[in-house]
């Protein structure tokens, strides 16, 4: 939940814990977590269209663990190139793929292998040929410079200690005039240094 990164935060351990947590969300989404998951949560609390979610594979929607709704910001235009940073099991990604259509392209980037497998399987199950899943993380996106129309993301940047670097990566891959529409969490209080060093608060 932190906004800035203390210089002595163990970012290697944080990254490993995030990967472990989200591998578990991918493989056992009905387990115990401190955050909501699934299509019911997405439609009732975040305003997703329940009919669109029902048209996606349950393996995709059950592992959804976002904190907002990037698609509520603005519809993805037909033909757009879209990158989903931390695409997870692919719910936002596949919604974007249907919006942009066969003349567009969506690229999902995730550092957790079980999530990438789910997203790729979901795209195949939907017959979507404009979806590509790539391994990577927010601070080193495997995407060419100035090649993207819209960057989406949901509940990811808050888990990245190097936020300036992640946002610089977004700027690098977007075309001039390209759009960001991301969901994340904000904190209304200034956190102490002890809080900022607490890995449990970062992952929770």
């Amino acid at each position: 939940m932190a906004v800035t990164c203390p210089v002595d935060l163990d970012t290697t351990r944080l990254r490993a814990e995030v990967q472990t947590m989200y591998a578990r969300v991918a493989t056992a989404p009905d387990g115990e977590f401190h955050f909501h998951r699934g299509s019911g949560y997405a439609s009732t609390r975040l305003g997703y269209d329940a009919n669109k979610l029902a048209a996606l594979p349950s393996d995709v929607t059950s592992s959804f663990a976002g904190v907002g709704n990037p698609h509520a910001v603005s519809p993805i235009p037909p033909g757009a190139v879209v990158v989903d940073i931390g695409c997870g099991a692919g719910m936002d990604l596949l919604i974007a793929a249907r919006r942009t259509g066969p003349t567009g392209q969506v690229i999902g980037v995730d550092m957790t292998e079980p999530m990438r497998r789910r997203a790729a399987a979901g795209a195949a199950a939907c017959g979507l040929t404009n979806v590509e899943i790539r391994a990577g993380d927010a601070t080193r996106l495997p995407v060419a410079d100035a090649s993207v129309d819209v960057v989406i993301s949901n509940g990811v940047l808050n888990l990245v200690p190097e936020k300036g670097r992640a946002v610089a990566e977004i700027a690098r891959i977007l075309k001039p005039g390209g759009r960001v529409q991301i969901a994340d969490i904000v904190i209304g209080k200034v956190l102490s240094d002890d809080c900022l060093r607490d890995i449990d608060l970062w992952t929770g």
């Binding site: 939940m1 609390r45 509520a72 946002v167 700027a171 005039g177 759009r179 969901a183 209304g188 608060l201």
Partner: protein
């Protein structure tokens, strides 16, 4: 978050929606204590 995007040269940076995404979870009280909310952010690359 707005400051990070503005500093990186983005324009029209705005929070467009807010969500109580931790309501009903085991972290609800922590989220309330620190006033944690889900938000949507919109921005444009200049």
């Amino acid at each position: 978050m707005i400051g990070v995007f503005t500093s990186a040269g983005f324009t029209n940076v705005a929070l467009t929606h807010r969500y109580d995404c931790f309501e009903g979870t085991t972290k609800q009280s922590t989220a309330r204590r620190y006033r944690v909310q889900g938000v949507n952010l919109s921005a444009k690359r200049s």
